[in-house]
């Protein structure tokens, strides 16, 4: 009965220095509904947060419904091509203005009393204006809009803080990783037009983050997949490298400022990334055709169907894995959705398209389900044993320097938990700061 949002504020009194320590984190960070409500205000939108991709709203007046934390958001492209992120909540009585998932519209009319907003959020019409009264000022009643919306290589981010430094600055060294992930030079673009796979886990959203650059769990969590490959196929397929001691591995993790993380899996995918691909439906037919058409370039072409081998995580909610964009969508302290968008390239060849789709499904079907189960088992354990207060996060302490954001990029062994410790420091800093406010909202604000 208690809506999540109403609880924001109750989590405010927490002593986050106590809860997040260098080698351990308190269970309440994962299970406390008040802390969750606080996160929805102080993490999502307090920093640049991923909202969608330009290829989802390619034309003028296209829009897509999305969320910023729990907040419903309309991501629009205006007539002039500019992109806007509007809080999808009527300024009259709070009604969600647009319930379509996507579409093309110059304006949105609220279904309740007919207030009409342009796709830049302006309140353009109120019915029977003769009766509004003299104090009614339409210009004060635009949809709340994110004061800053920027995109990088098609990835659209927004932030509630009008004075936040630029997106480019926020991404820092992660921007170059995005470039590398896309590959093929600045003219190549990503295309999100291949559906979306939405998965739901009864677990806290940060469990996703904890594994974003972790090379310890695959051998155990993904044993079903590794066994499948080795029992029915051959050594050397995807994930099999995690069997080896990571100290002997060429794979590495990286930590970046602002909580971003990276794990480079490519050293395990040799001689080509494609060579590590598990057989997928249509592989033989596809490969023959490509070899016939492309001759010596065939191996290079096949890399278009192979996994990128780069695991990039942009705090707090964007994950690039395989050939997919994963968006972390918190729902409750113990419920999270991940929305996976398979992407292709603007110069994707038609003959690699189906292979790329089929390859991607493999991870969804046989890999991710084991992650989800473990998150849920963790949530269950964390919720139900109050005496066991701590998550242990100390692996690798003493094997690398404690990460400091002033360092820029730090490279660590893939089983070192330093990337987790690093994003938790960012999380703590944000939770200790005041919640961002939207202009016009702060004044008049009522402590919840």
């Amino acid at each position: 009965m208690t809506s999540g949002a109403e609880r924001a504020g109750r989590g405010a009194g927490r002593d986050y220095d106590q809860l997040v320590q260098r080698s351990r984190v308190h269970r309440s960070v994962y299970v406390d509904g008040d802390i969750f409500a606080e996160e929805m205000r102080k993490i999502f939108g307090a920093v640049w947060t991923y909202l969608g991709h330009e290829s989802e709203i390619p034309e003028a007046n296209d829009f897509k419904a999305t969320r910023l934390g729990l907040r419903p958001v309309l991501l629009t492209r205006a007539q002039d091509g500019s992109i806007h992120a509007l809080l999808n909540r009527c300024m009259h009585r709070g009604t969600v203005v647009c319930t379509a998932a996507s579409g093309n519209a110059r304006s949105f009319t609220c279904s309740y009393h007919g207030w009409t907003y342009s796709n830049t959020g302006k309140l353009t019409g109120v019915p029977f204006p003769g009766g509004t009264g003299p104090d009614f000022d339409r210009s004060e009643l635009s949809l709340l809009a994110l004061p800053q919306v920027e995109s990088y290589r098609g990835f659209i981010f927004g932030v509630l803080d009008a004075k936040a430094p630029s997106l480019r600055e926020y991404l820092g060294p992660a921007a170059a990783l995005l470039d590398e992930w896309i590959g093929g030079g600045r003219s190549r673009r990503l295309v999100l037009r291949h559906g979306a796979r939405r998965i739901a886990a009864n677990a806290n959203w940060k469990l996703y983050l904890d594994g974003a650059a972790d090379g310890l769990h695959p051998l155990f969590t993904h044993r079903s997949f590794i066994e499948l490959c080795s029992s029915r196929y051959r050594p050397g397929l995807f994930l099999s490298e995690f069997r080896r001691d990571p100290d002997d591995s060429e794979m590495y993790s990286q930590i970046m400022p602002n909580g971003h993380q990276y794990l480079d899996q490519r050293p395990s995918m040799t001689p080509t990334r494609w060579s590590a691909a598990r057989p997928m439906p249509g592989m033989e037919h596809g490969v023959e055709r490509i070899r016939a058409t492309h001759g010596e370039r065939a191996d290079a072409v096949l890399e278009q169907a192979a996994f990128a081998g780069m695991n990039i995580f942009i705090f707090p909610n964007l994950s690039l894995v395989d050939n997919n964009i994963g968006v972390i969508q918190p729902v409750a302290a113990n419920r999270t959705e991940i929305h996976w968008y398979p992407v292709t390239l603007s110069d994707q060849l038609d003959e690699t398209l189906a292979l790329r789709m089929r390859n991607g499904e493999d991870s969804d079907n046989f890999v991710n389900v084991d992650d989800v189960e473990n998150w849920e088992r963790a949530q269950e354990g964390l919720e139900n044993v109050p005496e066991a207060e701590w998550l242990h996060t100390g692996r690798g302490i003493g094997t690398s320097e404690p990460y400091d954001e002033s360092q820029g990029v730090a490279t660590v062994a893939i089983t070192n938990e330093e990337p987790m410790r690093a994003y938790q420091q960012v999380w703590k800093r944000l939770m200790q700061a005041p919640a961002p406010s939207l202009s016009g909202v702060a004044e008049g604000s009522v402590p919840a």
């Binding site: 037009r193 291949h194 559906g195 979306a196 796979r197 939405r198 998965i199 739901a200 886990a201 009864n202 969590t221 044993r223 079903s224 997949f225 066994e227 499948l228 029992s231 029915r232 196929y233 051959r234 057989p279 997928m280 439906p281 249509g282 592989m283 033989e284 037919h285 959705e337 929305h339 996976w340 398979p342 398209l353 189906a354 789709m357 089929r358 991607g360 499904e361 969804d364 079907n365 046989f366 389900v369 084991d370 989800v372 189960e373 473990n374 088992r377």
Partner: protein, 196 residues
């Protein structure tokens, strides 16, 4: 299962997945809401007998017998896009040719899948069975399903409609293509670790 070795990586169990096949699947899905009345009682009963047997094999975990119901060039497809969409350019919840279908069974049976430790129990209601003849001699079967999945005290349901395309094999029919269309296919789902 003699198929369970590395030779699969280049064998026939996948070779039939061509652009032509994708186009057939896309078209069949697009056409599927134009069907008229079912065939006569005998054909309907024959179809029901098969889909109910199939459901029982899955509920009882008899995967070897289950795969034996399928043709060598079978497809088991669970689209995300309502209606089906275009599997060549879109992700599916499941898109299995025979090879990946056998992979899936091997993966289920090997015992390493954490969300199947312990394994869920399932009960499939398959109703509204209707049968249709296709110009190519295949038999098309439509039905609706509601699968209850129980595990560790929690119950999940998977609801939608099936379209089976059957190919005659001597006296019997084999399943040539199976498409399961969840009523909420594009929404978020908890772990899907059963065969629909």
């Amino acid at each position: 299962m003699t198929e369970a070795n590395g030779s699969w990586a280049t064998n026939e169990g996948s070779r039939y997945v061509t652009d032509e096949l994708y186009e057939q699947l896309r078209e069949a899905a697009a056409r599927s809401n134009t069907l008229g009345r079912s065939l006569d009682a005998a054909a309907t009963a024959e179809a029901a007998s098969l889909v109910h047997f199939e459901a029982r094999l899955l509920d009882e975990g008899r995967y070897g017998e289950w795969t034996a119901l399928f043709t060598e060039d079978c497809i088991y497809w669970v689209p995300i896009t309502p209606g089906g969409g275009d599997p060549r350019s879109e992700w599916s919840l499941v898109f299995d040719d025979r090879r990946r279908l056998l992979d899936r069974v091997a993966w289920l049976e090997a015992g390493w899948v954490h969300p199947r430790n312990p394994a869920p129990t399932t009960c499939r209601l398959v109703s509204n069975v209707e049968a249709f003849d296709q110009p190519d001699g295949m038999r098309l079967v439509r039905s609706n399903f509601c699968i209850h999945e129980s595990r560790r005290g929690r119950m999940r349901t998977w609801v939608g409609s099936y379209e089976h395309v059957l190919r005659r094999d001597g006296d019997a029919w084999l399943i040539h293509r199976k498409r399961a269309m969840l009523v909420d296919s594009a929404e978020a789902h908890e772990n899907l670790v059963i065969i629909l």
